[in-house]
Amino acid sequence: MATNFWSSSHYKRWIVDRATLHQARYYDLQYADSPEHLGFLNIFFANLISKLGKKLQLRQRVIATATVFFRRFYVKNSYCETDPFIVIAACCYVAAKAEEAPVAIRSVVTEARTLFGDEYGIKTFPSDNSKLAEMEFYLVDELECDLTVFHPYRTLVTLCGKEGGVSLPQAEAGEADADDSDGPRYWGTGEGKLELQEGALQMAWYGLPYCPSPQAQDAQAPVRFIINDTYRSELCLLYSPHLIAIAAIYLTLVFHAPTRASIQQPASSAPSHSGSSHHSHSGSPTRRSSRSTTHSQKKQQQPQDVIGFMAGLNVSMTLVATIAQEIISLYALWDRYSEDVHADSARSSFLHKSGSASGGTRRGGVKAGRSASVVSSGTITSGNTPSTQDDSAQNEIVTPMSLVQLLLRMREQRMTDLAHPPSGRPVAVNKMLERTQAAG
């Protein structure tokens, strides 16, 4: 995003602390089965936004903005007192406009009704355009009209994308618009670049255990991007986007063995970019690739100093490590979340292609294997291993349908309590409802 981050509404008004988030979930915590379920809801809602966004052919960046809008809305509201489904639709609708890629209100209504109705059994989504437009009004109000959102993508491109000779798939190449990194970096010293191998940067985009092979980069490939993944949590409310980007790069460096090897040795021994992989993305034209390949190969003659690179960024490494840890915790949680196969057929192909041996859980590598090594290597100082395997609750697999049920239950109980509070002090909910009914 183009305006200055440090004077932006994002930085000034929408980076919140944990206590605020906890307060925001106050009522939801009373009705949810466990605090952990709110974490699952975070994943679930982000997935829904992503699915709706894809049906509307929104770019990844627009989906990310919609997700941030959603998180911001629920800094001020409770799941149990609202209808997250219409909020999701409104977030997509407004984000598309805020990112200058508007979609017709009718198609949002149609796609949302189909998605929510057919796949999740939500039949209350209004068919009337004006209901979504009305929600848009309330949403923009809740967002305090702060519609310009910063994302980690730009930092990643600034740091690794341009000279790294990396070509990104079409959807993401949109983030790498030449103008996007135009202008001074808004944080750190403005110095330091890291040459990542193609595979490594792809991983920073795609998600940890998945090292994309050229063939896997077709549109159906169930790739997850680390950065995209962070939107499944509340990280975007807690930390500045450049820190999230650096944490994603950091995780990539830690987990991607070939990259680690290549940056510790002179690059002559590192696998060179294969020209074909640049152009293999299912016909999507790539930018800069041919020009920058030679460039980066030339530059890779020097061994790169990762520690120096990280230090040179002049950001708090403790903070970066904390974020990295939280991303790992997210993956641990996500491991126990399962999209219904019919709702997300891409998942099966992911499992198939990645050939994960650890019981079919996609984040197995991260959780069981790698996170331990991160902690033991001492680089992450905050030190909490995300999960303890023997806890029986950890084996529960949460599905979208169970979360839909949970949501409906939470709301129903909340409404009942509002009408007949256990404290005996009646809440004027009926009166309020009558009033709105009269108003239409």
């Binding site: 183009a2 004077s7 209808d83 200058e100 409802l433």
Partner: protein
């Protein structure tokens, strides 16, 4: 009952809560009068009910209408854009957005009030004073305009609609760039100006690369407009006053022959030497077919702004890559010569030469206008104005049913939007 309601509309309670907490525009502001109606909305002068009693301009976006019923049909792209950008920026030479109020299906943007604008200053000089704008004022206005533009451009914002009516001036002579309704962040793909929006930037201020159909353009289009504005301040009339060729029935963008000719008559036909990429532009062939002109800008400037000629020439570089940037323009020698630009552009003027206050009228939007025994100084003014506007108003209201376009129509819509007894209010007003 609540349960059924929640099943059919789970957000009912949420809305009730929000509605009851929301402050209304008229709770916070006294509407003093109507300023202007533009493409996207209507602008009112208003006074804050705070102790400070500050004056504001409130821009009310046109409410959405389906037939006669005001309904939610989605916030316009232009409103979203203007709101989103305004929330991110603060600069002395860019008009400040104080707050946005969403109420009753309408959006109100509350801006700091600016007593004048460039258009009005130009009119004042051409109609009332019949004299050109002094160099000191011209230079100060241009300098501050460039200064605000530098800020926008540094924030990667292209304004895209710079013209005298959109450049405001406060009563203390400070320039405020306004109307970001067409502005864009530059990192986004910039579509040709007609696509998507129904609005087209006023053609007189449109840069030659746009007129020749460039698919990509940049900040330089604003610099061209600054040149046009500066020339207009100097000569009191638009320098390139072309006729716009309208879209044809297939919405094809027409060749803007007349506007190009108006430019060529003064700046000459662009040559490939001064603008190498001109031959790649879609309308290049059309341009070649026009008569050939040579540059006579020097001559044009002679009588109008002899000292600023060099700056103007560089603002009017045909090649967008060679056109000055805002930063370069601010460094221009002209701004370091006497008279130096001043922060109060009017400081050198005697009181009677300062342009008059913005005229406000009572003509429509009756529901925005509080009636009654307010007793405050401004309200006294208002009721006086109401008396004079009354005949006019009643005429409008009686036509408001049939008149779909223009002011009467808006008046009707306003009454219906604000709800709560439109007809009786009208009566009270008329009686």
């Amino acid at each position: 009952m609540d349960h059924n309601l929640l099943v059919s509309d789970p957000m009912r309670l949420y809305r009730a809560k929000r509605d009851s907490a929301r402050k209304r525009v008229t709770d916070k502001y006294t509407i003093l009068g109507f300023i202007s109606s533009g493409t996207y909305g209507r602008v009112y002068k208003a006074q804050s009910k705070d102790v400070d009693g500050r004056i504001h301009a409130i821009k009310k976006f046109k409410p959405d209408k389906e037939g006669d019923v005001v309904t939610y049909t989605g916030i316009s792209q232009s409103a979203i854009r203007e709101i989103a950008l305004n929330r991110e920026i603060t600069h002395e030479n860019v008009v400040a957005l104080k707050e946005v109020i969403l109420e009753d299906k309408s959006i109100y943007m509350v801006f700091e009030y600016a007593e004048h604008d460039f258009l009005q200053v130009i009119h004042h000089h051409s109609q009332t004073l019949r004299q050109s704008i002094s160099v000191a004022v011209l230079k100060s206005l241009t300098y501050q305009l460039l200064n605000g533009l530098l800020y926008l451009h540094d924030a990667h914002i292209i304004h895209r609609d710079l013209k005298p009516a959109n450049i405001l001036i406060t009563s203390s002579g400070v320039v405020k760039i306004g109307d970001l309704g067409l502005a864009r962040l530059t990192h986004q793909p910039l579509m040709p100006l007609v696509a998507g929006d129904k609005v087209v930037v006023t053609i007189w201020y449109r840069a030659p690369e746009l007129l020749l159909g460039a698919k990509h353009y940049n900040k330089a289009v604003d610099i061209w407009a600054v040149g046009c504005v500066m020339a207009e301040l100097a000569s009191l009339r638009p320098i390139f006053k072309g006729e716009e060729a309208k879209l044809d029935s297939k919405k094809n963008v027409p060749f803007q022959k007349d506007q190009l000719l108006k430019i060529f008559e003064i700046l000459g036909t662009p040559s490939e030497r001064e603008w190498p990429k001109v031959k790649d532009l879609p309308e290049y062939d059309g341009m070649k077919r026009l008569d050939h002109y040579s540059n006579r800008l020097q001559e044009w400037c002679q009588s109008r702004m002899p000292n600023g000629a060099q700056l103007l020439k560089e603002l009017f570089a045909y090649d967008p890559d060679k056109r000055l940037t805002a930063g370069e323009a601010l460094q221009h020698r002209w701004f370091r010569e006497e008279p130096l630009p001043t922060r109060n552009a009017f400081v050198s003027l005697s009181a009677e030469r300062v342009p008059p206050h913005r005229r406000i009228t009572q003509d429509d939007a009756p529901s925005m206008m509080p009636l009654g025994a307010g007793g405050s100084h401004v309200q006294g003014q208002v009721s006086q104005m109401q008396a004079t506007a009354q005949a006019h108003l009643s005429q409008q209201l009686s036509h408001s049913h049939s008149n779909q376009s223009g002011k009467a129509g808006s008046a009707a819509s306003f009454a219906s939007v604000s709800g709560g007894g439109g007809p009786s209010r009208k009566k009270a007003r008329l009686g």
